[in-house]
């Protein structure tokens, strides 16, 4: 029973996108361990990436989304992401890409510290919660080979 309550609490915290909990260790340019201890869901990850209010990814990136018009070109195509990076490398690039390149324009999706003037409703919250980050990692790991949109 106690374990159920604890697990429920963890899920609720994650859903709120509240402040990032203690992060798994970073090894070189990768974060090999899952934020939730579980693998993400590819289909949910795809929906998050495509959603312009949730993942926001397609504002800057393009990817294998033939149904999505108006994909951005400020950042690399997501096609073949899994050929270029390991799962741990992709996770760190979503959690906090500034750890790899301090000049990057990509937001840190799982970080609340070091930000300025965050708008009220978003204050103290991460862009994605831990489960959503894992879903996006799972989706990106499915992007192998050059798929043409």
């Amino acid at each position: 029973m106690l374990r159920l309550i604890l697990a429920l609490g963890a899920v609720l915290l994650g859903m709120a996108g509240a402040g990032a909990q203690t992060l798994p260790p970073i090894l070189n340019d990768a974060m090999p361990a899952s934020l939730t201890g579980a693998p993400g869901d590819v289909a949910r990850g795809r929906a998050i990436v495509a959603n312009r209010q949730v993942g926001l990814c397609l504002l800057c990136h393009s990817g294998p989304f033939p149904e999505e018009r108006f994909q951005g070109d400020l950042a690399p195509d997501l096609n073949g992401a899994a050929d270029r990076y390991s799962q741990g490398q992709l996770r760190l690039r979503i959690v906090d890409p500034s750890r790899i390149n301090a000049q990057t324009i990509m937001p840190a999706y799982y970080k609340t510290e070091g930000l300025n003037r965050v708008l009220g409703p978003f204050a103290g919250k991460t862009i994605l919660n831990a489960e959503q980050v894992e879903d996006v990692v799972a989706f990106l790991m499915s992007l192998r080979g050059e798929k043409t949109p």
Binding site: D29, L59, C60, G72, I100, G120
Partner: protein, 255 residues
């Protein structure tokens, strides 16, 4: 370990950010619009902001406040006396020692000269007067040569380049470093303040440069500065300096 980390950093490092757009490459954002929108802006009969100009022209002659005076009673025909004025705003105001944008200057006139209440920000009357005054500078180059503006320009530049919001972006990341690229459906503009107040299709109305700045900040999920604040006026002052030499286009049309 250190060497590996350094190697990784070097491999992934991108060239330093581009910085300010070279003066010779700065150009009006009108040029990146569709031909339909450019035609709408150029034709007074099709430009929806023309109604705002007409509002302002009528208000120019309306007596207001304890003074019982209209703008025209002091300034005469606005088409003559206001020529080139908007191309020099924001301007340093000796009386208050502050930098005022055009809307703040209009409200200073209303409260101190006319003895009337200040017009609310983004109200039809204030936008009308600002659009009417702005119209009198159409085709004239933006001038930013008053050394007393330097502190506001510096502050505006610092705000323009500061990372902010949950998305941790700055104005400069898009408008200096990535103009011309696609942010979703939108072409990232250089963001020159040549055409304000302007009619924006997304708004379905005429709005000020400060309203546009507020939109961008909310888009970055950053807390906008208050309307009329020194911060917004500093950014406006910096943008006019950055766009110096470009022709004024008020009243503009934007997507």
């Amino acid at each position: 370990m250190m060497r590996l980390r350094a190697l990784v950093m070097a491999t992934l490092a991108v060239p330093a950010l581009a910085g300010e757009i070279p003066l010779a490459e700065r150009r009006s954002d009108t040029l990146t619009m569709s031909s339909e929108l450019r035609a709408m802006q150029a034709d007074d009969a099709a430009n929806p902001a023309s109604f705002s100009v007409l509002d302002g022209e009528a208000l120019w002659r309306v007596r207001a406040g304890a003074s019982g005076k209209s703008c025209a009673d002091c300034h005469g025909d606005g088409a003559q006396s206001m020529r080139g004025v908007a191309a020099r705003y924001p301007a340093f105001d000796s009386a208050s020692g502050r930098v005022l944008d055009l809307e703040a200057k209009i409200n200073q006139c209303r409260t101190e000269r006319q003895g009337s209440a200040a017009l609310p920000m983004e109200s039809r009357d204030l936008l009308g007067l600002a659009t009417y005054v702005g119209r009198q500078s159409r085709g004239l180059p933006i001038v930013s040569d008053d050394p007393r503006l330097a502190p506001a320009i510096d502050r505006g530049r610092a705000l323009f380049t500061a990372r902010q919001g949950q998305l941790n972006l700055s104005c400069a990341i898009c408008h200096d470093d990535h103009w011309g690229r696609k942010l979703g459906a939108a072409t990232v503009p250089q963001a020159h303040p040549t055409a304000y107040p302007l009619y924006r299709l997304e708004w379905q109305s005429v709005g000020s440069l400060q309203r546009r700045l507020r939109n961008c900040m909310v888009g970055m999920r950053a807390e906008p500065y208050p309307m009329g604040s020194d911060e917004f006026i500093a950014i406006e002052t910096y943008l006019m300096s950055r766009g110096r030499g470009l022709a004024m286009e008020t009243p503009g049309v934007r997507p």
